[in-house]
Amino acid sequence: MAEVKWMSVAQVKEQIRDSSAEEVTARYLETIEKSKLNGYVAVSEKAVEQAKEIDSKGHQGPLAGVPIAIKDNISVQGMQNCCGSKILEGYVPPFNAHVIEKLQAAGAVILGKTNMDEFAMGSSTETSHYGPTLNPWDLERVPGGSSGGSAAVVAGGEAPFALGSDTGGSVRCPAAFCGIVGLKPTYGSVSRYGVVAYANSLEQVGPLANNVSDIAALMDVIGGYDSRDSTSIDRKIPYQEALKDDIKGLKIGIPKEFFGEGINPDVEKAVWDSIHRCEDLGASWEEVSMPNIPYALASYYIIAMSEASSNLARFDGTRYGYREKGENWHSMISKTRAEGFGVEAKRRIFLGTYALSAGYHDKYYLKALKVRTLIKQDFDKALSKTDVLMAPTMPNPAFKIGEKIEDPLTLYLSDVNTCPINLAGVPSISVPCGFTDGLPIGLQVIGKPFDEVSILQAAYAFEQNTDHHTKRPPEVA
């Protein structure tokens, strides 16, 4: 059979019909075995068995036999779920996340769990207890984060698509750095049941794939209402029906605040070239103003850290995971958390605890929530005049491993263009739009809440009329 690396889902399905799911799965497992990317933290021992079962039952379901990689903060019953952290060493969830239930019902084969920044806190996948994942485009560079493992394995041909989670850009950042497509859905459109929480009010499960069609196919499976997620919204979104190669009349807003002083000139040029390409295809653009965007990063981090300090309180060594010895309850927990959490996780827990504490809650947390309201209003206003917004996904291409990790503020600033979207809860997709020095650049297409159709259509039409998404990383080809 043909090499399965970088096949689209449609092509994989063809191979499954011509050969078998078992054979396709075995090919992916071979590729994974040889990989040097450190994208997977656990490979499923049941993948081949699962594929055989699907072969024997006649390939029922829209994703029958198609392999998928899952970020290691999404519960897959019987497989580790360690969130890149020592504190969850050995934890094996006894239940499936809603999105996993949907994937299994659709016939997908889970290849394994992928590496991530510890508890999804980071933009480089360098904070993982499993060590960094490498960028397939340049093995000395980061894949982005926190879903860097999911992005690297898709870009590296080790899975046709993957699930990540996006709290402040954690799907879009690695999609941009790895030259693939990543979608952050509207808040509430995909269930978070069974996803380990970093910052609940900001995060969503999101797909990563080599093309827009596969993103839509995956969304049709994982999207939808779930009563076990109390922020779940019951609204149908016709993802695959959005795939039309037609953007005549599309109104694009260009928010100037997303093209600030920190944007790399090559990134800016690639994005503007993309906007002009859309113009050639019949779209129009106008500049829009979003005056509160410069305050989004500070607001995002205060809210995310505050929520994280509360969410991560559950990791106390009592019911699962790592446990240190201690003379009493307080000392056991304090030693466990000191040893079990990494540096970045502890830093954020400290900042979040402080921002929520007596005397500081109003100055930091409440203020950040009010700024969040202003940012949401900026998006509502900008998107009332335009169909979509376009901007760089990341201010720069992938940086070198080790380059930013020692200075937290420098690393936080990387999220400047991605975190406003999470504050507003709107959908946003990153598509490859060019290269600089052999490194991919991502274009971000942002839409109204639940209007994934507009951003998918814009991204699809752009993709169909450019060839960036067909390029493959030379390091792993």
Binding site: Y295, R347, Y354, P408, Y412
Partner: protein
């Protein structure tokens, strides 16, 4: 400004033990991040309501119906610190 005493107190609240050296390191790093956060003070927000999350759902209830839950052995499967069908933890003093 966060002082060393603040850092120690936060560590106690968060139940994370930190060494003397870490206390100093944390104080410096946290203060540089908080200085950045201080820019929010530039924005007037007196009349702005907070947004806790953007989903327009509130007070999501469900009927109080008994459903199947995890078997006890599965609940206890992820730890070796258990006894007589319960989790075991050090005493609180």
């Amino acid at each position: 400004m966060i002082t060393k005493e603040d850092v120690e107190h936060i560590g106690w609240l968060a139940r994370i033990e930190i060494s003397e050296q870490e206390t100093t390191e944390y104080m410096e790093k946290l203060n540089s991040v908080l200085a950045y956060f201080g820019q929010l003070d530039e924005l007037p927000t007196e009349d702005v309501p907070p947004t806790y999350h953007v989903a327009e759902v509130f007070n999501v209830f469900r009927e109080d119906v008994v459903k199947e839950s995890l078997p006890q052995e599965e609940v206890l499967a992820n730890t070796e610190h258990k006894q007589d069908g319960a989790f075991k933890s050090p005493k609180i003093v």
